[in-house]
Symmetry: C2
Subunit: 314 residues, 2 copies
DNA sequence: TTGTAAGCGTTATCAT
DNA sequence: ATGATAACGCTTACAA
């Protein structure tokens, strides 16, 4: 059996309170007794029981992460970032693979709740009402990655859209394109819409290319259908376009489809660069060039936020 | 605050003992009281505290996994397998990324030990004396993946060598090669040596190709140096060889180096297929074709073993 | 500086 | 069928 604090106390001929004090560097013991206690700990090979500690301290030093899939590079990168930061701050991380299955997800949230994790990171899935209710009951900080909620006030981490759009567009320009268009999503959309158009515009102007609103085809959302419908419009208006920055991968894939129907070859006639998700991009034919998002840093950031929120709550 | 079993007891007008009974389906309560208790649980939104449970039951329903790196497809696949099986059996998994750093590794083992995980899976690193001592002190099942220990009696999971070698060789044959050689490791080696030669031979014979021992160059280990030294010997003996199955990626990389020095072009003049590790293979120039190992299943299997061992220990 | 004792939220052993 | 109550291993007032 593992030695307990009792055993250490006995061996060092002090009370368990004293052992606890030296263990946690709380004031109230002489150097002498400290030495004796440390010696006893050493002799017995004592290891504090984090479970017992967790019970009294009401924190477990653990955060839970919910992925729709732990396989795939994307999740691995994010997890890498989370793990690194968490351990740096003295926390462990429990991974859960929900397989994007609602019941499974709910079960996992339940498990993490019973295990009394100190926080939660929720990746890439939509936050349903059930999920949110469960989060509320847990009463611990929850941070979203690669997703966000309009209905519920949950903090999330995503990339700097303007910058990413800028990078994407610049990439196209550096490839020699001079006439580049954009298939935007909803420009009203504060979270994802405005920034991307902004970045697109900046890249063009910085490269000394002319910018005109007519090179940006906007829509009301970021879906496949938008890409499908708007690609023809854009190409019709500007047949000289040789490259397109799409504000989402779904739009990009839609555009590729539309191009196919029009007999326009991708990427020979027109290059298309997407944004966002990767998953879609990877399985698309032909494969899409996509802005690589700093997944590792997103994991890092989300962890930082969770831990920060926790501090504030206590 | 979270409601406790006390609150439930009060609300249901029973003792905590009774609540505990219905919670754990232990005999000793009427249907009536069960209903009352369940109702109270529902009303209060009670969630059992797994930490407290863990303290008295001496098990946490958690297993720890130590990776040298959580990024990369390999780890992601293994983790995927571990996670799936663990949750299936009602366990959670804590991931630790040791970065192949001994001090970090030791610290993580310590953390997992204090957290009282019920088992450990150790991936891809050599088991040093320090590690093993730490494992012993923990007193929980430890299973190795993608590594093994000759000094210490630790169970491990690896692939069916003969079958994998067979597959690799067959792949070469299907690519049209008729003269294929093998750079073996130590044939005395029961764990990895014999099986691979076996598989190689079988693939050849099954394809109707002749087999002769002279097409297999053996050595005493599986290192880069073995590949470097033995590739010339083999090619010297059989200049007509157009493809080689290497018993390890290290050997393969060594062979590639040797080929480079001899002015033999890989893979134009000779194809080389490796085995094992991937990491090396990925970073090698030119990139190596490698037998893909069923990483997910290895994670699954290792988890099964840990849990099985745990049952036996109790 | 040090020890005693009351929790933390469970399970499990007794009684009743 | 049910209820006290003693663990489990620790932290933390409160005393001494």
């Amino acid at each position: 059996m593992n030695p307990t604090i009792q055993d250490v106390a006995k061996a060092a001929k002090v009370s368990i309170a004293t052992v606890s004090r030296v263990l946690n560097n709380q004031p109230g013991f002489s150097e002498k007794t400290k030495a004796r206690v440390l010696q006893a700990i050493e002799d017995l090979g004592y290891q504090p029981n984090a479970v017992a500690r967790g019970l009294v301290n009401r924190n477990t030093g653990t955060i839970g992460v919910l992925f729709p899939s732990v396989s795939g590079l994307l999740s691995a990168e994010i997890l890498f970032g989370i793990e690194a930061r968490a351990h740096e701050e003295g926390y462990s991380v429990i991974v859960c693979n929900t397989a994007a299955n609602p019941e499974k997800t709910l079960r996992y949230i339940q498990v993490l709740s019973e295990k009394r994790v100190d926080g939660l990171i929720f990746v890439s899935e939509e936050v349903t009402e059930d999920y949110y209710k469960a989060f509320e009951r847990m009463g611990v900080p929850v941070v979203l990655i690669l997703t966000q909620s309009y209905k519920y006030p949950l903090p999330y981490v995503k990339v700097d859209d303007a910058h990413a759009a800028y990078t994407a567009t610049r990439h196209l320009i550096e490839c020699g394109h001079e006439k580049v268009g954009m298939l935007s999503g909803n420009p009203e959309e504060l979270l994802a819409g405005v920034g991307r158009i902004e970045g697109f515009k900046r890249a063009l102007l910085e490269a000394g290319l002319s910018y005109s609103d007519s090179y940006v085809e906007t829509s009301t959302s970021f879906t496949f259908e938008d890409g499908l419908a708007n690609f023809p419009k854009l190409m019709n208006r500007h047949p000289d376009i040789t490259a397109i920055f799409a504000a989402s991968d779904e739009i990009a894939v839609g555009a590729v489809s539309a191009a196919y129907k029009l007999g326009i070859s991708i990427p020979n006639d027109v290059s298309i660069i997407g944004y966002d998700n990767l998953k879609l991009a990877e399985t698309s034919v032909p494969p899409l060039t996509t802005i690589s998002q700093p997944f590792q840093r997103m994991g890092d950031k989300a962890t930082e936020m969770v831990l920060e929120m926790k501090k504030i709550m206590m």
